[in-house]
């Protein structure tokens, strides 16, 4: 399956991030089309396109928009989730750096569709370069009359606020993000009510991922049939994949959904010379790992679920045979323990348990019966936590046990570093060897 650059098509222009660079290739030509349509027709187009959320959950975007009650007399809000922090996910940051105006044009169209006059871009705080670039894009778009009052004479007005977070993975969870955007601790809310009904300031709110919104101008411009000519029936469209780990050419690769992982891996130059794929994760540390036996599977929402994983953010991380699974899983649990917001007991306490026990296995001090304890604790977190962070934390261990139980057995007597030399897994292993 060939690569199909759309969002990434002009990133090699030195000014791809500017208004001029974007307009040179048809940028902002979707906007007048959308503004000439009835807002419901815009929602209908996105619905018909089958676009699904690119942030991890894969919820149909048009459907989400249609949940916003109309003529309710309340302000509506669009909030772009630009809090990309999922370990392994690294595709929204490049989009905002290289093509921020696709995001801005998408924001204007989406806001028009859901009748929002305020939009927010919640960007994680640790990326000043992205924050200054999105600020600059909003300034340019405002000066050009695409943002502000009476946009292109349509009568539609929109204000876009670029907002910095301050270091909290949990704020990628949409309701935690909303609390954070209200100036509070970023802790998730009980759902329902869903944000479409009671979101920011308890008003109807759509929360969408950066890449999702960046798709919108291309859909409006080129039509539903064109969009559906990529991908599968259940996973239409193209995807900004970002491949990382022990591959020869890590980087951003845009291809239709449904591309087999083996082909994407080949574009990325394959696994490191002289090594084999050991395990890979289709989209972030929160999705179950797969092995080299799964490489021929198409990267779609449905195929990944069928294989026992998830497409997640669509940013495959690939590890070779030098890597200790126990070490990787222990590292991810360090992360979830650190990022658990503390609101609910299963996630707050459970992650300490898993974390502590996993470290014993990593150091070769595990006890056989503790594998059952780990399994039990994961089972107590999964589905019993307030939000998906708990579910995510309960994912790496059971998934790893499914394929690499022997390595955890080894952890009852031998440290992972004695079996898998950490130096061999580094990208500078040749240099230091």
């Amino acid at each position: 399956m060939p690569l199909t650059p759309v969002i990434t098509a002009h990133w090699d222009d030195p000014d791809s991030f500017t208004l001029d660079g974007y307009r040179r290739h048809g940028g902002y030509s979707a906007l007048p089309k959308a503004l000439g349509m009835d807002p419901d027709a815009v929602i209908g187009t996105v619905k018909d396109s089958g676009l699904r959320g690119r942030g991890g959950a894969g919820f149909p975007t048009g459907l989400k928009w249609s949940f916003v009650p109309q003529n309710d007399g309340k302000p509506h809000y669009l909030v772009v989730n630009a809090d990309e922090s999922e370990p392994g996910a690294c595709k929204d940051i490049p989009i905002m750096l290289a093509n921020p105006h696709a995001l801005i044009e998408g924001i204007i169209i989406a806001s028009y569709a859901i009748r929002a006059d305020h939009a927010f871009v919640y960007i994680r705080g640790e990326v000043p370069q992205v924050i200054r670039r999105v600020h600059a894009a909003v300034r340019e778009a405002t000066a050009a009359g695409y943002v502000g009052n009476d946009i292109l004479g349509s009568g539609f007005s929109l204000n876009i606020v670029v907002h910095s977070g301050a270091g909290a993975y949990i704020c990628g969870e949409e309701t935690a993000l909303l609390d954070s955007l209200e100036g509070k601790r970023g802790q998730p809310r009980l759902k329902p009510p869903f944000p479409a009904v009671a979101g920011l300031y308890a008003c109807p709110t759509v929360v969408n991922n950066v890449e999702t919104i960046a798709n919108v101008p291309y859909i409006v411009n080129n039509g539903v049939d064109w969009f559906r000519s990529f991908g599968t029936d259940k996973s239409p469209g193209f995807k900004v994949f970002a491949v990382s780990g022990h591959v020869q050419r890590p980087g951003v690769y845009e291809a239709p959904l449904g591309i087999p992982m083996a082909e994407l891996l080949e574009y990325a130059g394959g696994i490191r010379e002289g090594h084999d794929v050991k395990f890979w994760l289709p989209g972030g540390s929160s999705v179950p790992m797969l092995t080299k036996d799964h490489l021929d599977l198409p990267l779609t929402y449905e195929a990944m679920v069928e294989a026992g994983s998830m497409l997640g953010t669509g940013t495959p991380m690939v590890y070779d045979d030098t890597t200790s699974v126990v070490r990787a899983v222990t590292g991810w649990l360090d992360f979830y323990k650190h990022e658990s917001c503390g609101k609910c007991t299963p996630c707050r306490e459970g992650n300490w348990f898993i974390h502590d026990i996993l470290h014993r296995f990593d150091q070769g001090h595990g006890r056989g019966e503790q594998l059952q304890v780990l399994d039990n604790v994961c089972g107590q977190i999964l589905g019993r936590s307030f939000c998906a962070l708990g579910d995510a934390a309960a994912t790496p261990f059971p998934a790893a046990m499914k394929y690499f139980a022997d390595e955890f057995e080894t952890g009852t007597s031998t440290p992972s570093s004695a079996v898998f030399d950490p130096a061999a897994s580094t990208v500078f292993s040749e240099v230091t060897a």
Binding site: L97, Y169, L181, T323, C341
Partner: protein, 216 residues
Amino acid sequence: MALTELTRAEMMDLAARYPQPRSALLPMLHLAQSVEGYVTGDAIVMCAEVLGLTTAEVKGVASFYTMFKDEPVGEYHIGVCINPGCGILGGDTIWETLSADLGVGHDEVTEDGKISLERIECQAACTHAPVMTANWEFMDNMTPEKARQLVEDLRAGREVKSTRGPVIRDFKACERTLAGIDDDGFGDVPATDDLMLAGLRYAQEHDMQAPEAEVI
């Protein structure tokens, strides 16, 4: 430097950007850090006064987020990603090297106040692993040697650029960018690098492209 009436005015500007002023609290705390280097008691009071909150409410928020510091960090706050995506590919080795060299651990500052270290989680740049940050600007594809050089250069006051372009400024200047008060003038740097262009270049070299749309 202490907070001034100018800081208060800028905080009020931030608050006015939002339908409800409290939404500005995170940017306001970044702004406070841009003046004082960390979130001081005075900053808590000023944020509370501007937003009509109690100091406990503001403190409760500030303490939740790892980027808000309750004591001074170094002039250059250095992050090393130790999340497995980077850690396994070399981040762990880099952390051990720097921490041993500098004699400081997580969230600690060197005696000269120049450098502080933080074990950071995923920076959304896994394609560029192992990743570090210097006052939150990306430092990509690092090695222990490059990490040592980075710290040495910053300590010596030499100009260092992020691998993505911008010059690395001190911690307070970076915090002002995050507050989003004004254009910091550092935006005119390349949009992309080889890794971000890997797929596009492959497609160009092999004559691959997305199907053209029918003219609508």
